[in-house]
């Protein structure tokens, strides 16, 4: 009963919103707000809190109460949170030290640059790979051969090729991200039902118009799936890159804290990575929802197709 009523509520709401609102922007915001309200009313946020409590509880019990042998070197949650929120942190990093934000800022900037590059290059490449069979035959084998090479294997070349400490890290971050984006975009183009292309041909669209009005929007759902994976793997390889070279950044923070035996700071770095990483992929999802309102609304209606 609690399952069906929010769904039907949403349906009527969406229908009303669509009929009365001329602007799509307005109804998109209302849908987002409405979803949030439903989420608060549903049991989900409370289950989520229980999940977190369970996780932190296990950490607390295993380290601080039971003192399990494997966890002997591990800082407990009390120590970590005290350090994290301390005005005068023992190991030099907390939410009150400017350095902490410097690390976050540097990592975020690297991610932004690398992810933007990967998107700007990866999406068009993927579109053309999917659109032109000939182009794919030239490029795809090389692409498939390079793709399994892990970013870490590129470290020496990246350092040799690019001067300074910043560009190699951005290059490494870019790589994995780029593969994910290009590949998903290509799959997106290939997933488009041929009927749509035929319909556009029937209606007199030129080749370019088909590309612009069918291929690009039709592959959008896959492109955004790709971008979400892409931003995830970007963090993955960023941290690897920052551990190898670079100054500042959350990966650098974790790595130096390890060599300098500042264990609580390692955990602070890890938790921060989790939070910032989550925010970036939520951001990508939001942009996707905004650009694909047709899909958001369809899903809101239970996807009658």
């Amino acid at each position: 009963m609690t399952e069906t009523s929010p769904a039907s509520l949403l349906t009527t709401h969406v229908n009303r919103g669509v009929a009365s609102d001329v602007s799509h922007g307005v109804s998109a915001t209302t849908i987002a707000l409405h979803r949030f309200m439903l989420w608060v009313k549903s049991p989900r946020p409370y289950l989520m809190l229980i999940g977190f409590a369970g996780f932190i509880g296990f950490w607390y019990l295993s380290v601080e109460v039971w003192k399990l042998p494997r966890f002997s070197e591990m800082p407990g949650p009390t120590q970590v949170f005290r350090e994290w929120f301390s005005r005068d942190p023992t190991y030099g990093t907390s939410i009150f030290t400017p350095e902490y934000y410097m690390h976050i800022w540097v990592s975020t900037r690297r991610i932004t640059i690398a992810f933007s590059l990967a998107t700007v290059i990866g999406v068009p490449l993927g579109l053309f790979l999917g659109w032109s069979e000939r182009f794919k035959q030239y490029v795809f084998p090389v692409f498939e051969l390079l793709r399994p090479v892990p970013p870490l294997a590129w470290v020496p070349l990246a350092i040799v090729m690019f001067k300074g400490s910043e560009t190699p890290v951005i290059f490494l971050t870019f790589l994995a991200s780029f593969y994910a984006t290009a590949l998903n975009t290509m799959l997106g183009v290939q997933s488009i039902d041929v009927s749509y292309i035929r319909a556009a041909n029937c209606l007199g669209a030129s080749r370019w118009q088909v590309f612009r009005h069918v291929i690009v929007p039709g592959s959008m759902p896959f492109i955004f799936t790709g971008l979400q994976i892409s931003v995830g793997v970007a963090w993955f390889s960023l941290v690897a890159g920052e551990m190898v070279s670079g100054q500042y950044g959350l990966g650098y923070l974790i790595n130096t804290s390890y060599t300098m035996v500042r264990y609580p700071t390692i955990i602070i770095g890890m938790i921060t990575l989790g939070i910032v990483g989550y925010i970036t992929s939520a951001g990508v999802r939001l942009v996707g929802d905004y650009l694909m309102q047709w899909r958001t609304r369809e899903l809101a209606l239970g996807g009658d197709r």
């Binding site: 669509v18 319909a199 209606l203 009005h213 899909r295 197709r305």
Partner: protein, 290 residues
């Protein structure tokens, strides 16, 4: 009984124009793959689609009737023979694949409204892409036509938000926006339940009576064929060739009361044995959709 189309603002008074949209299918053969190892899908098929009439092609699934429609639409080449639209060659020995164009618009089996465009963007797609009308003109024409087809208040909805029956109607309006010579309907109501189907049939006939656009309709449903068609072409299964061509003399305009008349039953009796025979053959061959 002659039909006087009601004057309407949305649809062009096509009845006043000379009737166009006749298709001549002459000795068309389609072989998938090479000529010696390939599969013969259409075998020396010859029949006419009359201008300003509804021609329904009936055959079991996978018999090759969609192949014929794809040849007319220009999605596939033919192997030999020729197809003319109003004495203009679409495809023939000199050019085996027709060029798709807005004079022959297909309404697809599963529907092909672009889900990422609103209904009115879909409806105006043809004229806007071709540069025939400005956006504003196209929107105005679309609003009139949609209102005429009973499609109000869904302009700014996406196709995913409306029922599948309404989607089919929007798709037909999208086609009619281009003043096509012929509509090619590929089992458009296959996925609908029988109640929705009957509503769709009457809606289609209503649009036909207003526009008198030629319709080439493919189905495997014999009742649907006889109810809608001026002419019903029953196809053999794989390879596909006309087995029986019937002119249905039940007067138009028709509505659902026709289904219970004696004449309708007579047509059903006359044809169901032929269709059933082909269905058995198709079943034996294994249903395979091309």
């Amino acid at each position: 009984m002659s039909v006087q189309p009601a004057p309407s603002r949305g649809f062009p008074p096509a009845a006043a124009q000379s009737r166009t949209g006749g298709v001549q299918i002459n000795d068309v053969v389609k072989i998938y793959g090479t000529s010696d190892t390939g599969v013969l899908a259409v075998d020396h098929c010859t029949f006419d689609v009359q201008p300003g009439k509804i021609t329904v092609v009936v055959g079991p699934s996978g018999c090759g009737k969609t192949t014929l429609l794809n040849a007319i639409a220009g999605f596939h080449s033919i192997s030999s023979g020729s197809i003319y639209l109003d004495d203009e060659l679409l495809c023939g020995p000199s050019r085996l694949k027709a060029q798709p164009g807005p004079d022959r618009i297909v309404v697809f089996q599963n529907g092909a409204l672009f889900p990422w465009k609103t209904n009115i963007e879909n409806v105006t797609f043809g004229p806007v892409m071709q540069g025939q009308l400005s956006r504003a003109e196209a929107y105005e024409k679309a609003r009139d036509m949609m209102a005429d087809a009973g499609l109000r208040d869904i302009e700014h909805n996406y196709p995913g938000e409306i029922s599948s029956g309404v989607r089919r109607r929007v798709e037909i309006v999208r086609a009619l926006m281009n003043d096509p010579k012929i509509l090619l309907l590929d089992e458009p109501y296959r996925a609908l339940d029988s109640l929705t189907k009957s509503v769709m049939h009457e809606a289609l006939l209503e649009i036909f009576y207003k526009t008198h656009v030629s319709i080439f309709f493919i189905t495997h449903d014999l009742e649907e064929a006889i109810f809608l068609g001026h002419r019903v072409v029953i196809m053999t299964t794989r390879p596909c060739r006309p087995k029986k061509i019937l002119d249905i003399d039940i007067p138009h305009p028709r509505d659902y009361s026709v289904l219970t008349t004696r004449r309708f039953r007579e047509f059903m009796d006359e044809t169901s044995a032929a269709v059933h025979e082909e269905a058995i053959k198709a079943f034996a061959a294994g249903e395979k959709e091309r």
